[in-house]
Symmetry: C2
């Protein structure tokens, strides 16, 4: 049995708690956080504590706090000699307090309070200072996911950057599409089958080959019309820069 | 039985052919195209012809040709008095030749040769000049899809613009993410669960509320790091403009 302590009470902490709870050979024995309201989510199911009185015997702590809080929390909480894995894509392993057995446990996914997720298909990237700790972390991650990979901090940062394009920016474009549809009196959810197929298609056809649309075709008339339809300056800017990039990429290939 | 002629032999023509072929009360009786190689896909299953000898008795023609070709093909082919529906998101109904019963049949989806699709969930936007033709087109569309809506040309253009953001631009961002991952030696398909969840999440949580990431948080340190990691100028430009837009949108809401 792998005994896990979770530090943090946000979305990720909740998903980790449920994910680990669903395994047969790992369990969360303590959840620690500074926020009593956050802890209340857990308190009927596990021992909870503030950050000053971490007492449980655990094999490792998962530090599921915001990026900024990783150095201070790992320093201020008494974690000396403990295996402590933060869960950030961008923060280097070295940001954790010296004297802890520093590690990273980075699930490549977007977690929301309202969505249940299975960890099974989520890649988990891990990093540690020692090979013993790597094996322990790999065991835990392997209970949750079919895809566990050791990865250095610099490489993990690149993965996180890719995720910003694949998730944050993509979601923002969905938001613009939503707004255009709503402004035209069209129910935005009618876009969902298109959005879904766009995401599914690249399982079989890499994005470079899946590209379609007026910019790829060099259809300037349609692009000009679109620019007159867009009412917001920053939407026009985004339209222009993305169309130009697509046009250039595919014109080169002609 | 609704008898359909298809003009065009590309991706959309093929999907329409298969979609209509799967219904019990409509069928494609002729496929016409200028390209013998394109016609060969169909010729074992239906009568095929070049554009000069359209002879089949049909209730309507679906004009599945490129946007640019819609005016010329509908003028040059003998379609006088026939119900002719083009399939474009941007081209107005009026671009069809005078003397035809002009109509639009616009399925909001991205069609690829390599992907089988069900029309059932794909919204189909229709437009006609007469109410009789509207009912005929609605009947055909209703055999394929659960979501059929009459929509004017100007509104359809807005839907298409939304689709450019939701599909074309999104796919291009996937491509950048792919490239970043590959350059870092990470298998890009590891991004697929994230991409999928990003697309699925907005069924429950509208994009505006689903937004996450460094730009939303105003995490300038991470954004600065990302800009140093991006090797291509146009990737940096896209990163900057999207981050700025997200930052501004959410800073306003604080």
């Amino acid at each position: 049995m792998i005994r896990v302590g979770i530090i943090g009470t946000g979305n990720l902490a909740r998903h980790l708690f449920r994910g680990i709870g669903a395994t047969s050979t790992a369990r969360v024995v303590q959840v620690a956080g500074r926020d009593p309201a956050g802890l209340s989510y857990f308190e009927n199911n596990v021992a909870t504590t503030d950050l000053d009185t971490l007492t449980a015997q655990v094999d490792l702590y998962l530090l599921a706090v915001s990026d900024d809080a990783i150095p201070t929390v790992s320093t201020n909480v008494n974690l000396q000699g403990k295996l402590v894995a933060h869960c950030s894509g961008t923060v280097p392993l070295e940001a954790l307090a010296a004297g802890t057995r520093r590690a990273v446990f980075y699930p490549l996914q977007t977690f929301s309070r309202e969505r249940e997720l299975s960890f099974r298909t989520i890649p988990i990237f891990i990093e540690t200072e020692s090979s013993e700790d790597l094996e322990l972390l790999r065991s835990l991650a392997g209970l949750l996911s079919d895809t566990v990979m050791p990865l250095s901090s610099p490489k993990r940062r690149e993965v996180h950057l890719a995720a910003v394009f694949a998730n944050n920016f993509t979601n923002y474009l969905y938001g613009i599409a939503w707004e255009i549809a709503a402004d035209a009196g069209i129910e935005p959810t009618l876009l969902l089958p298109l959005i879904r197929e766009t995401a599914e298609k690249i399982k079989e056809i890499p994005p470079e080959r899946a590209q379609t649309g007026p910019a790829k075709r060099g259809d300037h008339r349609t692009m000009d019309t679109h620019l007159t339809l867009l009412k917001k300056e920053h939407h026009r800017d985004i339209y222009r820069i993305l169309s130009q990039a697509i046009y250039t990429a595919y014109a080169k290939k002609l």
